[in-house]
């Protein structure tokens, strides 16, 4: 089943490389739901997630000739997407630091311009917010895509043991947080 899927992806990529750009849309349609869900879980809001997905698809489209056909397209795409998401989170952290340092001046300027300073949107789930980004990626891939530690490692570009530790920490933290908040699932 998985091999069939790989073959199908590879055929679509081959035809894209031959110049049939409509096939890239087919490829995009196939993964847009999964990619948006993953990015949304990592970034916490839909707008940023859509942005990250678009950037990831653009990167894939522009570097399709560098794709290694011996590997899985989905893993390659998820690697690019998770890197985009991590970049966005880094940008957001930098922005928050800037806002903190310039808070007073920033507020004045925004008021003068008739705008209300908005904080970056929070994560969809407060529980996921408590995890670090790599733990979030690991747990989402494990739960929603059924990935194993070694597959997560290939997406995160780290060793299988590191991925296993990320996943384990994420699962432990989430369980503890759920018990703290008395959420029954």
């Amino acid at each position: 089943m998985c091999k069939d899927r790989n073959m199908e992806d590879n055929q679509l990529i081959m035809s894209c490389l031959k110049g049939q750009t409509e096939d890239f849309k087919t490829l995009m349609d196939k993964y847009r739901g999964k990619s948006l869900a993953l990015a949304w879980n990592i970034l916490g809001n839909r707008e940023d997630a859509e942005d990250a997905c678009q950037e990831a698809f653009v990167q894939v489209y522009l570097h399709l000739d560098k794709f290694d056909f011996t590997k899985n397209f989905k893993d390659w795409f998820f690697t690019i997407l998770s890197n985009r998401c991590l970049d966005q989170l880094r940008k957001r952290t930098r922005f928050m630091k800037f806002v903190k340092t310039q808070k007073a001046e920033f507020k004045d300027r925004m008021n003068q311009a008739g705008l209300n300073p908005q904080h970056p949107p929070l994560l969809h789930s407060k529980l996921l917010q408590r995890l670090n980004p790599r733990e979030r990626i690991s747990v989402c891939l494990w739960a929603n895509e059924g990935y194993t530690s070694s597959e997560i490692a290939s997406v995160l570009r780290c060793s299988a043991s590191t991925a296993r530790v990320h996943l384990f920490k994420a699962r432990t933290k989430l369980k503890a947080l759920l018990e703290e908040e008395n959420v029954s699932l």
């Binding site: 847009r32 789930s125 060793s159 369980k175 759920l178």
Partner: protein, 157 residues
């Protein structure tokens, strides 16, 4: 149960990932008590966004097309052939100027000095009190200074 506690303490106080991974593989993954401390796949699915919630992702394609156009334009601007030639020419000129400055000019200067020395410095003979003197000429190594020492030729007296 007490063994599990020791394992969890060992996990918390051993920050090395290889050590933590070893503990996970050896004990935590196999122990039913430890597994109870981990969240299940279904529970995670319940608190995360699922693919089924993202079916209306049509706006992705429009944004994608715009971004591809924008990126292509930027790439053309950055790596255009005209610019590539210009950068190439600039690099070549800088290289030539450096080569001239450091290799050709010092050699020219050296030959000019040598020519000047050869052209102007000539001693045919030295005479003291109208008699030929004994002369010593020497030049210190690496210096352009030439010292001439002349003394009366006592043997000739």
């Amino acid at each position: 149960m007490s063994r599990c506690k020791i394992i969890w303490y060992a996990f918390a106080f051993g920050p090395l990932k290889i050590w933590q991974d070893f503990l996970i593989r050896v004990h935590i993954e196999r122990c039913p008590d430890c597994q109870k401390k981990l969240i299940s796949r279904e529970a995670v699915q319940g608190i995360t966004i699922q693919e089924s919630q993202c079916v209306d992702a049509d706006s992705l394609w429009n944004g994608f097309e715009q971004k591809v156009k924008k990126t292509n334009k930027n790439e053309r601007q950055v790596f255009g052939p005209r610019r590539r030639w210009t950068y190439g020419m600039v690099v070549l000129l800088v290289f030539l100027a450096t080569a001239i400055w450091f290799i050709v000019l010092p050699q020219l200067r050296k030959t000019r000095i040598e020519e000047r020395i050869n052209g102007h410095f000539r001693i045919n003979y030295i005479r003291i009190e109208n008699k030929p003197a004994q002369a010593y000429v020497y030049q210190p190594q690496g210096s352009q200074m030439i010292i001439v020492w002349a003394q009366k030729n006592f043997r000739g007296e």
